[in-house]
Amino acid sequence: MKSTKFTKFTEKEADAKWWEIGNYFRRNSIWMLMYCTGCGAIELPPAMTSAYDMERLGMGPMATPRQADVLLVTGYLSVKTLRRIIYTYEQMSEPKYVVGFGSCTINGGVYFDSYAVINRLDYYIPVDVYVAGCMPNTEAILNGFVDLMGMMKNKTANGWVKYHENYEWYKANQIQAVGEVHVHDEFHE
């Protein structure tokens, strides 16, 4: 007769199991929030439509940051858009992931000497996957998403945990770049 005795999970183990289950569903239904700042956005229509059909990976667009899993930063970021990026990132519910497209998010790309464009995105918000290139092609972008799914499986896509742990550092960098993180709008104030 089979023993009915089993060792009870500790709370931590049970938590880890639930995270594993959650991650399984999460990585197979990634909803993207596309912040189309630069030219990178042009690679998304072929990735989403029938040519490469992102939907087969369970990925789809999402209109609001509250329901999105992954934030796509598709290109260069001026100080003005960085402020909105930080706003959007902080509105997303956890766990949240960031994919940076193109060389502009890595080191400034061709805008390395611009007076308006920041040079590295991971100085301000944590980035899980970079897709290098100027522009990366659509295959590279889909490869980046598959990498992100693998990282979610291996529990290495923990940028949002790092954001919690190093919140002071990120906040100091953000304040150094954009002053207060608040969107002033002279037309509605």
Binding site: V79, K80, N119, R120, A177, V178, G179, E186
Partner: protein, 199 residues
Amino acid sequence: MMNSMNNVEEIIAAVEANFDLLSSDVIDKYQVGLDVNKNEIHRLLIFLKTNGWIQLSYLTAVDWIEENEFELVYIVFNWDKAVHIQIRTRIERDVEKASIETIMPIYPGCKYYEREVHEFFGIKFPGNPDYHKQLILEQFDDLPPLRKDFDPLAYAERKFPKRDYPDKFTNLEGKESEQAKRDVTHERVSKLRTGGTKK
């Protein structure tokens, strides 16, 4: 019946009859440029507006640093004749003295163009209530960026931290570099390869 070239020449003749025209150039049959003095800008714009050039397409400036002058360029457009007219004028380049009266009473839409020009060149527009307000750049604390004596690289280095690359080759997660191994392979392969010709 008049063709468009006639129109352009008629425009120049009409302006020459009424204003002190410094120079003019015909870019093509749809574009004409007029250089006038600073103090005639407003009269000329009123004249053109009453003759059908009702839309201010653009207002910008050019920094001629060697001549120590700013050139203001007003581009107006006529919806019936399809002719763009550029009205150009030169003003002083000095940070304090660079200023010109607003054209808001003539073309109210210039409000934001003037703010933009002030932000990027530092030209003042007395008469425009908001010209000094920030419009596009945020957290900017240097010379106006489109002046030729502004150094964008120095500004970027001061404000935006760079990513530093300690070595020419970076390795994932601190693994040992395999570049030496790759070099050996590459050398062997290039020895074998003859490029399709017999040695």
